[in-house]
């Protein structure tokens, strides 16, 4: 087939990481310390290609509003069920590419240092490359089946990477949990895809040579009355199920905190910046469907904002530094879904982008902290590290401020856009809860900073003298990530609701915005917009101040007694938060205990009834044989009696029956 240069580059984007995986898997073991020698350069080249494509798409506008669409070949030519390898690069894809490839590349470089002592690092790099391939496939896919395949591959990569240290029981269990919970969401997702196909008969997202795509046909079907509104809502909700699973929203959020069993680069890449964003990306991509189903949007917003406050409340009491960040991720993902639900698609994607950078920064930073205190993850055993690991400290401080949403760092812009749109589109409850979560975010982030870096040192005395800054392969990505955390908001997010990011994403979401009847007024600082901004910034600052007051800053140490008093005052909430609101216990009860009971009952049935029948037939045959064998007495007279009786029977039968 003939491919243009750009199409070839897109294909290379996919092929290179896959080849990197293959080569690393095959010869990685023999490379010993240089196991990264194949994976990391592959990623750097991939990043360069991706940046070139992004430049073409976003800055030069080479592909126009519709983006680049091409087909690499036919996959399933089964009559009506026709699936091709369709790929698309439009503005939304480009934005995602920036996030995915940049953070992916930085994580690869970081892993050189982080995994330097791990004997299985060749596997790690192979899996990382495989993950990059899956994620790129997901972002570039232009039809449902290919997307679903990439969805599953990403889940598989996540399983492999969470359970990387497979001889740790907790890691293996966490990997299994992640995969299973994901599967639950994927079930709904698959049903949704099936529903789409039975409704419109095609899987392609947009128009191809084969005809119009789902995003044109489905709204048309609704307008023309071919499908009812409740069917549209149903399809949207089923597709949302997949997003709930993959992006760890309530009630399928239970896998993300446990996924922290994986190495920190994995947490940074997969569970902060890329994989968990797949759900957000998909809903944004499917905005023509969702904008036609307002009730589904309400559900999305509700689940999103509920997850946000739920996760933030749990983050208050966690002791493991990575768990706090995991719950923070859950909370911010909730924000993104809330943004999608209220119709602020571009704002949600913007938040996705900024969050990817500063959460990735925070995770990598935490990895650096853990590395420096020799694999201690409990924050209660840290403290007073800010002078000893300065680069890590300052970059993490930047990340925390960005996450809390203090202007003019990146998080403020994106979070504020979501909250502003919520308020303006009439979702008052979402706005209120969002503001509360902003306060909570500031508080728990500075609790983390205070316990980890400030105050007096609770580090294990044996470890204390050995604390040192991480190698340059680990600190360089931190510095590189701090830059977008600082500047990205101003660069593409100002003025709010009409910044550069909105101009880029406008062609994608124009139809949805129109359907929903959202009018983008000019940004007016003196009016409602300004008020909302000030309220948002004030909430964030309030949270930060509370956090610093309780937990310290620089030399100021934690106010232990005040913290104790606060804890005692809110004892029931404290207990609920520590117990993660008992969701894990609930799942255990329903699925493990009760499910186990059902499984055991069925096993009993299988052993007793089914096997019993089969074995019984065998036993019956044996016993019958044993019984009939008794006829063989070895005595001639018994046989003669048999002959006589048989003869008599035949004769009588002949005489009386036949004649």
């Amino acid at each position: 087939m003939n491919l243009t240069t750009n199409e070839l580059l897109v294909t290379l984007l996919l092929v290179l990481p896959l080849a990197g995986f293959g080569v690393s898997a095959l010869i990685g073991r023999r490379l010993y310390t240089r196991a990264w020698i194949v994976a990391v350069p592959v990623l750097i080249v991939t990043w360069l290609i991706a940046m070139y494509l992004v430049y073409q798409t976003l800055f030069l506008g080479t592909f126009g509003d519709g983006g680049l669409h091409f087909t690499l070949g036919t996959w399933i030519p089964a009559g009506a069920f026709h699936v091709d390898f369709n790929f698309a690069v439009d503005n939304l894809t480009a934005v995602l590419l920036i996030v995915v490839t940049t953070i992916g590349m930085l994580v690869h470089v970081y892993s050189i240092g982080y995994m330097a002592h791990d004997p299985g690092r060749w596997r790690f790099f192979a899996y990382l490359n495989f993950f990059m391939f899956s994620m790129l496939l997901l972002v570039l896919a232009d039809n449902f089946v290919l997307l679903f395949a990439a969805w599953e591959l990403v889940g598989l990569s996540s399983y492999l990477l969470i359970g990387f240290w497979y001889n740790r029981r907790s890691a293996a269990l966490a990997a299994k949990k992640a995969f299973l919970v994901n599967r639950v969401g994927d079930f709904g997702f698959a049903l949704g895809i099936a529903a789409v196909w039975t409704t419109v008969g095609t899987f392609n997202f947009t128009t191809t040579t084969a005809g119009p795509g789902v995003f044109q046909l489905l709204p048309q079907a609704l307008q023309s009355g071919a499908i009812q509104p409740w069917q549209m809502t149903g399809i949207a909700l089923l597709l949302f199920c997949g997003a709930v699973g993959k992006s760890a929203q309530f009630p399928l959020h239970v896998w993300l905190p446990d996924a922290m069993e994986g190495p920190t680069p994995v947490s940074a890449l997969i569970h902060a910046a890329t994989m968990v964003n797949a759900g957000v990306y998909f809903i944004a991509r499917a905005n023509p469907i969702f904008s036609q189903a307002p009730q589904a949007m309400v559900v999305v917003a509700a689940i999103g904002i509920f997850t946000a406050i739920l996760a933030a409340s749990i983050a208050f009491t966690q002791r493991d530094i990575k768990r706090v960040l995991a719950y923070s991720t859950l909370s911010q993902l909730g924000y993104m879904f809330a943004g999608l639900g209220v119709g602020a698609y571009a704002a949600a994607i913007f938040h996705l982008m900024t969050h990817g950078f500063f959460k990735g920064l925070l995770f990598l930073g935490s990895g650096s902290v853990i590395h420096s205190v020799h694999d201690e993850q409990d924050m209660n055993k840290m403290g007073a590290l800010w002078r000893k690991i300065p680069i890590t400290h300052w970059t993490m401080l930047i990340g925390s401020i960005a996450l809390a949403g203090i202007p003019p760092l990146a998080g403020f812009f994106s979070k504020d856009e979501i909250l502003g749109s919520a308020f303006k589109n009439g979702f008052l409850v979402v706005w209120i809860i969002g503001v509360v979560v902003a306060v909570m975010t500031g508080f728990y982030m500075f609790r983390l900073m205070g316990k980890t870096f400030y105050g007096e040192s609770h580090v294990d005395p044996e470890v204390e003298p050995k604390i040192h800054e991480s190698p340059w392969t680990m600190t360089l990505p931190l510095i590189l990530l701090a830059i977008p955390a600082l500047l990205l908001g101003i660069a593409i997010g100002w003025p709010p609701d009409s910044g550069q990011i909105h101009q880029w994403l406008e062609p994608i979401f124009a139809g949805a915005t129109q359907t929903l009847g959202i009018t983008e007024g000019q940004f007016n600082f003196a009016g409602i917009d300004g008020t909302l901004i000030i309220i948002g910034a004030a909430a964030a600052a309030l949270g930060v101040v509370f956090g610093i007051w309780f937990f310290g800053l620089f030399g100021m140490r934690e106010k232990r007694s005040q913290v104790e008093r606060l804890t005692n005052a809110l004892r029931p909430l404290y207990r609920a938060s520590v117990a993660k609101w008992w969701f894990d216990d609930l799942n255990d009860l329903i699925f493990v205990r009760f499910g186990g009971f059902v499984a055991r009952a069925l096993w009993w049935f299988d052993v007793r009834v089914v096997d019993g029948t089969v074995n019984g037939i065998g036993a019956l045959t044996q016993d019958t044989g044993r019984g009939i064998r008794q006829i063989q007495t070895g005595r001639v007279q018994n046989y003669a009696l048999g002959i006589a009786a048989g003869l008599l029977l035949i004769a009588v039968t002949y005489i009386f029956v036949v004649r």
Binding site: T633, G634, R635, V636, Q637, A640, L641, A644
Partner: protein
């Protein structure tokens, strides 16, 4: 009565049944052989009876009876020789002790 074929045939049947009973029920091997002789004689009687009431068959019937008699003699000879031989080995003439073909 002696002029009806039925009487002879019924008599033959009775003798045959007695022979069957003796063959199936007795434990002693020689008794079984004696029952066999009874059965053979019953057959002879039936043949002769048919011959008596069918003139064209009379000589045939007599001949058949003679031949059967000869065969019966041969069979009795060999059977008794076998019984004696087994008796020498097992020390008993009772057939329900000759059960080595069972297992």
């Amino acid at each position: 009565m002696s002029h009806s074929l039925d009487a002879y045939l019924i008599l033959s049947g009775l003798l045959f049944s007695i022979g069957v009973f003796g063959f199936l029920a007795r434990r002693n091997a020689i008794a079984m052989l004696m029952s066999i002789e009874l059965m053979l004689n019953a057959v002879n009687l039936a043949a002769i009876a048919f011959g008596a009431f069918t003139p064209s068959l009379q000589a045939h019937a007599a001949l058949i009876a003679l031949l059967v008699m000869a065969v019966a003699a041969a069979e009795a000879t060999v059977g008794l020789a076998i019984v004696i031989a087994i008796y020498r080995n097992r020390r008993t003439p009772l057939v329900d002790e000759y059960a080595s073909m069972r297992d």
